[in-house]
Symmetry: D2
Subunit: 347 residues, 4 copies
């Protein structure tokens, strides 16, 4: 049994992670730690749907020093800037760490600083962290001690863009990511932006030219391309609980039709358990809600030469907790689908 | 392995049933049969979320005679009046049957006729059918060949009312069931009533004095009470996919407070895996969506003497497919939770 | 032109009131005053849909003393306990006042204290305030200086109950109000309860035995009946922006069918511009959203003798701002429909 | 008084048009004609929210010949291919016509045939029809007898693109329109695509490379540019009743920042009553729901040089019925805002 602890277990991503791990046959959750004022409360207090399912009291953050040594693996699901205070100690003590936040997604403090507006406190391990996108970096994840779990928008986007870049099919400067997210992406905190009446029955864009995930997508796409790429990224808030749909536009370098590209995507992701390439239907966030799937379809507007890739994930599963468990499974040499093999609850 | 077939597998209840059975370690789905024009199509054609998960082509209804003998157990998920044509043959051949429709919920043709407006074609087996509410009739279900699976509203309602009747705590003539349902309860067929724009962002009642499930609730509650009871039942359509919340009002015979009644409900359902009695929180359909739970809370308005019971289920799981599998587990002496042990996807 | 000011103009009710008054041909808005930290901001800052429509900067609450004399009529839309500090001064100066909050809905400090947990600071005017439900108290409103505008649930409920009580048709002790509200009823403040993901795609009850509006309904229904009545009232939160649907159950004293009662309701509300009695369809909150209508239907469950009244309003219009303007129109001898004659935006 | 009749009055666009015209002080609705099986029914039968507001019985389509001469102006709100059978007769008789469908949006039968798959039956008047986008073609509309009212997606898109093209600011071959629509855009007919459970709580794209409105946008944008332009257009279905948000991407020809472009848009639409250029906030479909506004914001991603324009309308108002009334007002020399001056019902 892998002994795990979760720092930041009381947010949405931490809760989903808790729930997946409870069904994992090889995992024992040793402790859950809550942010802010949820320490001391029970899981069922915060999340009544887990009544009778999860029987834990959240620890407070100041208990970290007493408990981090009791586990083999620590997950962190914290706002950016917070994980960097917890990680070095755990790594130094030989623990494995998967950070669901932004702190270890860049191996370069300058880039981190540019997008997050603060200097990284952990210059050492930031360089060693592995970007936890298994479909692209499985081999590196196998031996990793520290995994930076990708953001939700970047997961859906990079999986959709990678086959095009790797096959040199598009003008890399032409990439546009029009992203649509459910409201759970904004987290559990009550804000004006998450008020039901502000979100219900309407749609709007936000952070049109400066969303932090644009930096993450650019950084990772550049890495795949081998040279710096700028990406246009515009996120929107859709009245739904879960799910991200990204519609990606990129100028094709040569003529290719949708069928050819679909075949190419199928080949690229051959054997991947969590990637479904759709041929004659289109991704819908409902088809992946609650699952670790990324559903992808690709079409070509032949008049304009634009390649259009549609990619849907559940932001809290493949975009956060599910992918974290997928990474854990790889790090601990377990079958990659363990605890993640489920289809959506539909409708 | 239990070999099963599903007649009416292409509707919402049939699909959810398919999905649960695919995860059941002791079940082999031998065939799926679709209503209407879905025969010949694949599961993933109708339900893209099952792409790569369910690899079946729906049979057409006229193939029934060729296949009913190939299985141990037949599930039927059909509109009322349709199952009665399929069941006798199967029972006569020694098969077990669980009917998710209304045809075998009454043991009395007269009552059936009153509420469904047609005479039952199967006078024989209607009398033998067991009402498949395990928390009340587990022993009878164990030996049953034919189970009439309860309706969705009746499941939520009867589980909430039974402890009060059995303990003689209420005036049985005073029962009022104010029910709120998600739209999947109306089925997959596209109608004006299920049009998104008619349902979104609003609420309305329907069938205020003559909903068929009122007949089912009355029939079953009368049976529990041992004498005929009339119930007031008003259903409403709520803009949500899944879930039923019933708010039940009944005049208390003697003074009892909410705490006492809560304790009584806990005692009544002691050991039940799928009943959760809430003490300091209230049921929400989101807490049970996708699960076989029935969450119940009870409170008392001390000024009026009204006992108020709140009961929430997922109409497609505990109110249909999940309960059918629970019944199957009982009929085949399997652990009752097999394939049903999951918490809600939240939020 | 009637000169008006609004205290608490930045909340949802205050904003809707602002919008209605801007379209009122006989009203000049002289000032808008915001609660909390919205003072100094523009209307369009808080409510971008009013860009180019409402050109005001909200005053802060401490400016009240400088401005209350500049108007003929003051509307207050504040949390309970706040209006009582502003009203006496205005009345004493000969101004007219309509309070959309709870402070002036009871003429009895003891009752107020019981339900609101604080003693009323304005013992004088609380006794003179007129309950602003025009369909019942039009004549008194005509001469009023101080109107306590009814709460949203009470408006929908009392209008549905009054014809039954006044005609002595029901057992007054049997009244049950099962209420369903949209989320704007919880106000504009961001709380866990108003978080999109907590409310979307689910339903739950709240304040099952102690909602403050139960007190208001009891107080007013008792007044109509001429003796004290207790009412069972259970509110629910429905995933929709606006609207209240109440489903009212009451035991009929004598046999009457739905047709007869419908005729009686039509007679009772003859000539009322904002009451629509439905005969062959049922109220839906969507039919009244954005309007001052109260749609009512009545049916009888003949087996149980329960009379069922369905009543739908927009909580922010007939349940708050619209009714306030209706009261103003009456107080100033204007046609009652002025600025209120509009049908719903549908779908 | 302008006497008008509406052919296709029973669909969503026809109903909204009816409602706006009922509030128009210079219009008398002489008759309403329904498609399909709604003839003979009353408006309130189909649309209960108009109970007591609209007192009409829908005529059937075969009564057209008896009534088209009785009015000054005929509105048609029909599926494509249907209006062409009604229009010639009316124009020949000296009536004015505004067609809300697609039949008269192109002046070229070849283009119509390409996108709609059928040859136009009215070769004569198709060439004379004026494209009813007042902000661009007001002068032509003034003298028009036959107006082809723009589609919903094209309205939002062309208004957002025109200032860029006219000022020669973008590479015209780079235009991408990522569009998000509410479900009322699919019409009132009940289909699998409009089923609540298929649309609620999820998002998906449709007609990714061949939506007919792409043809309309291309045709009109080419006309503005003076040479043929191809546009990439991908529509999505969002769980909301009303509204379209288009996010438009175009490669800037020269460096310009968001502020400069915003100023340019303000100048371009100076004096326009229904265009609101947002500076420091972003369009949201909720801000325009029920109104004739088109809200626009423009930003620049300086790293990629992409200009991003966000444009929101109500698909049934500015995207259909409201714009039709705006055109009527222009054709009849009435103030353009007549019957259209209203802000959104929010929230």
């Amino acid at each position: 049994m892998i002994k795990v602890g979760i720092v930041g277990a009381s947010g949405y991503a931490g809760m989903v992670l808790t729930q997946i791990l409870l069904e994992h046959p090889e995992v024992e959750i040793v402790w859950l730690m809550a942010t802010e004022n949820s320490g001391g409360k029970s899981v069922a207090d915060l999340y009544p749907h887990l009544t009778g399912v999860a029987d834990f009291i959240y620890l407070t953050m100041d208990e970290y020093d007493n408990v981090y040594q009791k586990v083999d693996l620590i997950f962190l699901a914290l706002p950016h800037g917070a994980a960097m205070d917890f990680v070095p100690k755990a790594i130094a003590a030989g623990k494995k760490v998967i950070d669901l936040g932004a702190d270890y997604r860049f191996n370069d403090n300058e880039v981190f600083k540019k997008w997050y507006g603060l200097s990284h406190a952990d210059e050492k391990y930031i360089k060693q962290a592995i970007f936890g996108l298994p479909e692209l970096y499985r081999e590196k994840i196998k031996g990793a001690n520290l995994v930076g779990n990708p953001g939700c928008y970047p997961t859906a986007s990079i999986l959709a863009i990678a086959p095009l870049i790797k096959n040199n099919l598009i003008d890399p400067d032409s990439i546009i990511v029009d992203a649509k997210s459910g409201i759970s992406g904004a987290g559990r905190a009550a804000t004006h932006k998450t008020h039901f009446c502000e979100r219900n029955d309407g749609i709007e864009a936000y952070s049109v030219v400066n969303h932090r995930h644009m930096g993450e997508i650019e950084y990772q796409v550049s890495r795949i391309a081998g040279n710096p790429i700028h990406v246009t990224f515009v996120p929107h808030l859709v009245p739904m609980d879960r799910g991200i749909l990204v519609t990606i536009y990129a100028k094709g370098k040569q003529m290719a039709d949708g069928k050819q590209l679909t075949a190419l995507f199928k080949e690229f992701y051959k054997g991947e358990k969590f990637i479904r390439i759709f041929e004659d239907k289109l991704p819908n966030t409902k088809y992946v809600a609650g699952t670790n799937y990324c559903d992808i379809a690709v079409q070509v507007n032949e008049a304009t030469g634009q390649i259009i890739v549609l990619s849907a994930i559940d932001n809290l599963v493949k975009g956060a907790a599910g992918q974290a468990v997928q990474n854990m499974n790889i790090m601990f040499a377990l079958p990659e689908e363990t605890a993640l093999k489920k289809a959506a609850i539909y409708p």
